[in-house]
């Protein structure tokens, strides 16, 4: 009995088990949450469309064709043209690029910054936590759109600034949610073990705590995607977002709704549908993701 080669070596997990995991998780998600899978499908479709826009768009979205001004949907222009004769379908296809860049950019930066702040705030606790959270409370007390409008007004409306403007109001919302789950992670013995091992604060926060709040992080991220797209459309519609002649859904609505709502309804209808569909798809996917991840949150 001099050594500890007892016994504990029984291997219960086979390699096949582990290889199967990813595809099995995806298949399981599709089977249990068909709505979420549809949402995910639309999201994937949007990404594909945005990436292949130059290949699939029938026209250049900026190409002005006075011969075809305000043409209703027909064989040449499936979704019609706008007041400058630009093809609506092509502009919607290219608009998805703007929507996704702003959506993913803002949601990713917002959720990530919020997560780091939330985890850090929970980890340090005490006075740091108090100060950070009260500061966040101030931001949360403004409605999303008001804060975004104010940010755009301050920063000016280039695309990067637009992303920042949409990001800022998201950070405190995410940090609040992430902090609450980080508080329970902080009490886990493995975080104590990391402290007892003499690790630095940054290592504990980034390597030991952050990966364990992935579930709420992903949920926040997907819900922000929809919100960010909607917010970008709203700002563009108000004339404070993307500027002409860039193809953006909100901008298309603006031009359409102001003058041509009755004479050329397709100009407003199709971009509007695109916005609704995108936001709806992201929300469906996000909701299903939350349902799928939540039980795992509870059981650790």
């Amino acid at each position: 009995m001099s050594t500890a080669t007892d016994i504990a070596s029984v291997d219960t997990v086979t390699a096949a088990d582990r290889g199967r995991r990813w595809s099995a998780v995806v298949a399981d998600f599709c089977r249990r949450r068909p709505l979420g899978a549809i949402g995910a499908g639309v999201v994937v479709l949007m990404i594909v469309v945005a990436l292949t826009a130059p290949g699939i768009a029938p026209y250049d979205p900026l190409n002005i064709d006075f011969a075809a001004m305000l043409a209703p949907p027909d064989a040449a222009h499936w979704l019609g043209t706008d007041a400058y004769g630009r093809d609506v379908l092509s502009r919607i296809i290219y608009g998805s690029q703007t929507a996704l860049i702003v959506g993913f950019g803002a949601a990713f930066i917002g959720a990530t910054a919020g997560a780091v702040l939330g985890v850090g705030s929970a980890y340090f606790g005490g006075r740091t936590d108090l100060v950070v959270q009260r500061f966040m409370d101030i931001f949360i007390s403004f409605p999303l759109i008001i804060l975004a409008l104010a940010m755009v007004a301050i920063l000016g409306n280039t695309l990067p600034n637009l992303i920042i403007a949409i990001t800022v109001p998201m950070i405190p919302r995410c940090s609040l949610v992430i902090r609450s789950s980080a508080l329970s992670i902080r009490e886990m013995p493995y975080v104590d073990a990391a402290r007892a091992a003499g690790y630095g604060h940054a290592r504990i926060i980034l390597r030991h705590m952050l990966p364990n709040v992935m579930a709420p992080y992903l949920i926040m991220l997907t819900s922000f995607l929809g919100q960010a797209i909607l917010l970008e459309a709203s700002l563009s519609f108000l004339g404070l977002g993307v500027q002409e002649p860039t193809a953006a859904w909100g901008l298309m609505l603006r031009g359409a709704a102001v003058e041509f709502a009755e004479t050329a309804p397709w100009m407003a209808l199709f971009p509007g549908l695109a916005i609704s569909l995108a936001v709806f798809a992201f929300n469906l996917f996000g909701d299903s993701l939350r349902d799928a991840l939540d039980p795992k949150l509870r059981t650790g």
């Binding site: 009995m1 007892d6 016994i7 504990a8 029984v10 219960t12 099995a24 399981d28």
Partner: protein, 343 residues
Amino acid sequence: MTDVAADTLLDVRDLRTEFATSHGVVRAVDGVSWDVRAGETVALVGESGCGKSVSALSIMGLVARPAGRVVGGEIWFKGRDLLKLSEDEMRDIRGREIAMVFQEPMTSLNPVLTVGRQITEACEIHLGYTPTQAHARAVEVLGFVGIPDGARRLKQYPHQFSGGMRQRLMIAIALSCRPDLILADEPTTALDVTIQAQILDLMKDLSRQFGTANLIITHNLGVVARYADRVNVMYAGKIVERGTAREIYANPRHPYTLGLLRSVPRLDEPKRARLDPIQGQPPDLTRLPPGCAFAPRCAFAIDRCRAEVPPLTSVGGAHQSACWVADSLPGVAAKPVAEQVPA
């Protein structure tokens, strides 16, 4: 299980409960038969995942659906097969004739209701008591479980009671409708040693006083030794040994029981140089070996053990063991590895 004694209260026959998991079907309870006679204390002993708690939940009709399902067997209780009753009929039995005490006294009481309300509710529903009668009964049962000043305590909330007191409350709730059988699932595991002793003594006394039968589900061999009349040892969904507590402890006839008894350090024995653990890991119910489920960890296993499942057979009177080599096992006292050192 042919001769059912006249005073048999609960007779479980060939019970099978399965769970569907992502790794396949788990036979949590796999053809288990046991009985409880009126007024006695029976123990189901085993480690986590052996099926002891699922057995109790199956009896109460509380197996979590849709994943879990009782797929076979009979549960005879006072002349009725509980598995054939409707949900409404089961509801009358739960709490009224069979009561349950859970492991976690902190979470099994509703924090927003007074403890009085939680006791009287059962009496009003099951016994048709008026609020006044129910209140009187509540004060009475609090007295039984050793909580003085019942009238005042009934107005309090669970958080005003300590852990041990809450477990007394759970027992009071269980007792309130005068059940014939109390199923206690690890009733003392969450409690401190000195409180454990109090609670177990209390359960034993109450059983004597009211003739209530107890089914104690536990992993703690010490608890079983002190309080159980008869013991069923479970491993991987099956009963591997059963008998009176004295038979099981003095002369275990299954290597698993023997291993458990040998592996725990005992205060009444000289300190051993090293403990004698059971080798290996607990069984994975999704991939049990053919033959005896304990064979991979068993020091006495022969080829037959790895091929054929041993049936539960008598090794002397009512003492039964499911082991091919039951007759050639050494006694508990024979310590193969440990040299004894003076304490």
